[in-house]
Symmetry: C2
Subunit: 451 residues, 2 copies
Amino acid sequence: MARKASLSGFPEWLPEERLVELHVLDTLRKTFELHGFSNIETRAVETVSHLLRKGDIDKEVYAVSRLQADDDGGRATSSDDGLALHYDLTVPFARYVVENSGHLAFPFRRYQIQKCWRGERPQDGRFREFTQADIDVVGDGVLPFRYDVELALVVVDALSALPIPDFTVRVNNRKLAEGFYRGIGLEDTAGVLRSIDKLEKIGAEKVTALLQTELGATDDQAVLALRLASIRTADVSFVDQVRALGVTHPLLEEGLNELEQVIAEASRRAPGRVVADLSIARGLDYYTGTVYETVLNGHESLGSICSGGRYDSLATKGNRTFPGVGLSIGVTRLVSRILSQDFTAVSRQVPTAVLISLTDDSSWSAAQDIATSLRSRGISAEVAASAEKFGKQIKFADRRGIPFVWFTATDGTHEVKDIRTGAQEPADPDTWSPPAVDLVPTVLRAKPAAG
Amino acid sequence: MARKASLSGFPEWLPEERLVELHVLDTLRKTFELHGFSNIETRAVETVSHLLRKGDIDKEVYAVSRLQADDDGGRATSSDDGLALHYDLTVPFARYVVENSGHLAFPFRRYQIQKCWRGERPQDGRFREFTQADIDVVGDGVLPFRYDVELALVVVDALSALPIPDFTVRVNNRKLAEGFYRGIGLEDTAGVLRSIDKLEKIGAEKVTALLQTELGATDDQAVLALRLASIRTADVSFVDQVRALGVTHPLLEEGLNELEQVIAEASRRAPGRVVADLSIARGLDYYTGTVYETVLNGHESLGSICSGGRYDSLATKGNRTFPGVGLSIGVTRLVSRILSQDFTAVSRQVPTAVLISLTDDSSWSAAQDIATSLRSRGISAEVAASAEKFGKQIKFADRRGIPFVWFTATDGTHEVKDIRTGAQEPADPDTWSPPAVDLVPTVLRAKPAAG
């Protein structure tokens, strides 16, 4: 991560960095599958009209067109139905569900790990090409609320397995917020949410002014809206704190009850990792109930590493509605931070565990036999390309990070040298194995720095 | 594969089809790593000028531009340095090697599995978005010829592990062909190769005419060029057949010797799977020695599923040259054929092995405890969302393809039912496992159709 991407916003990793990314991807995949999520991929492009249906974000979209197409039909614009790269995995997934609804068993649990593209200005943790790992459960007509609880548990499981610092999943509920605002007489709930969303950026005083000037809130209304946003608890005590504000509304009650279910279960299973945070407004425009966002503790400025929520209607097809709840993990954001902060150590850079050395140039084929035998038992092996002096062959292994070198004597006996220690021992191609710790490159959580 | 892609040329798989693709990708990854190849990924976009450097293929390239960029700077054309999606993995890899040469240990063995995009007309086995799996070995200055032999062995290993019919890797050598043509007095060797490349399409008679009219070949020269192209042997006997034509040239000798090395080793290790085929002209424009292409036996019309060759210079940096040899497997082409021909059977559609049923709605949290215990031992489990009648919960599992349902009685005892057989037995959350065959969905080679 000392290297700069040669194209700003399009990071590329060195092989040993890619090992860390693969470890993250493999860990997420394994966790999602243990929780019963099936994998799919969608194409990289969507029609522009489908991408822009969800809101005013066209500034960030990369259009795609054939380089030599006729000029009138070549470039996609928002007025025709050209193609563009997807900017997230939710919009393509909604289309996929509608197109394939006859072939899917609902509730459909899927995970999807793919690249996304946004033409934004690159910043720390914000890229133009980045990998997202999404999980969603989608129902046909109905989807029990329990999936909102379950998905919080799944991401806690997934993030806990990664080589990252501790994290906090912050949960809110749009019904709670909206019901509260209505309960105090503020009907433009979306406007209030937009103002509250600026709390961290501009502070309470300026948000109060916004609420008063733009939404016509009274002093009392502004104070109550800000008090609600200040509530943050690691257990279900937020319920009493909200009640203490003396506001009542049926939607508020529904939201309180839903959020209480999430926090009650999560605080029991993952104490301190899932908190009720009533300031979370992000994405509330799109979501209709539960909303999640997640920060790495001590790295809050990185932004959310895992966000999502409940949609009453992820997609519709005729009079069928597909409600959903899901979360999206920012893999590239996480991996870039893991690499820049050295959260991990990689045991070696190459998959190869053993280099089969050559005694003379005619022994290459016999060396391939040894390598084949090792590979059949899951041991990664490569064969030297030429019979240089043994010292040179050992140096070759050392330079590439291969821990063992195999020697075959002219009498047909074999020995293996651990070139890190110099220890050399007799070996049989049909039975020798490296110590388990040396079988494949491993990615270890680095010891946290003191202090 | 009965379904049509909603956007022509951009295939998307159902979850059970994706299991087949994942099986192919996992198998390739495992094989490549056993042979000591490291994984990298490159960004999806390259500058247009870099992409077009390699030849006249700009008609196939998808340009990328910000949808709302100013009109003068928005669309990438070949005259500015806009961005475009890569159409293969070799061109991006060459750039990556040059940019990171100071951080890589040579010879650098890498595999790369990513999507590519081409704006071609979609056909059977030809897509606009498709996944390639590439392996290359790249040297710094020099790269021993033995890697040309080794790479043939690696792809034989990789393809043999896939659920596909038998295949044939056809190998030729540009030095052999070029030396032969020079030896018979045809100096425009690239022109001869272009004509020979049309052999399968237009037949020997028309190729003869082409050689005579366009390249000024005599009758004898045309006959000899066609005789060379007709040589195809599963062992090294091609050497004698070429020698019998009575042509001599130093480059021909060098090519004969190289191709003999590949075929000698490969015919010993994988009899019949690697053949010398002196008609292979494909890609000879780009390659400088060995060339490979691969067909599925009985599916030759699908085109090559794995092609590549030797470059004397994959890339250059100042006065440094990076020679390479590599092959590219057409994953999407293979997977689409596997699916359309039912080469495989999938044991189930979802990762979930066990559904934990609910006795009553308050038992959801206890059911999560059971699921957690199973998952900690690698068993995929999900919990029912509501305490419907057991019959309904069993139907839910059946509809989703989950083989086992877990029941907890009010006295705290547990039983597991195999809903395929109806067999039910006592079970302990801390020790129960499904039979090994039911642990995860498996992809099996289907029995070949008789005939």
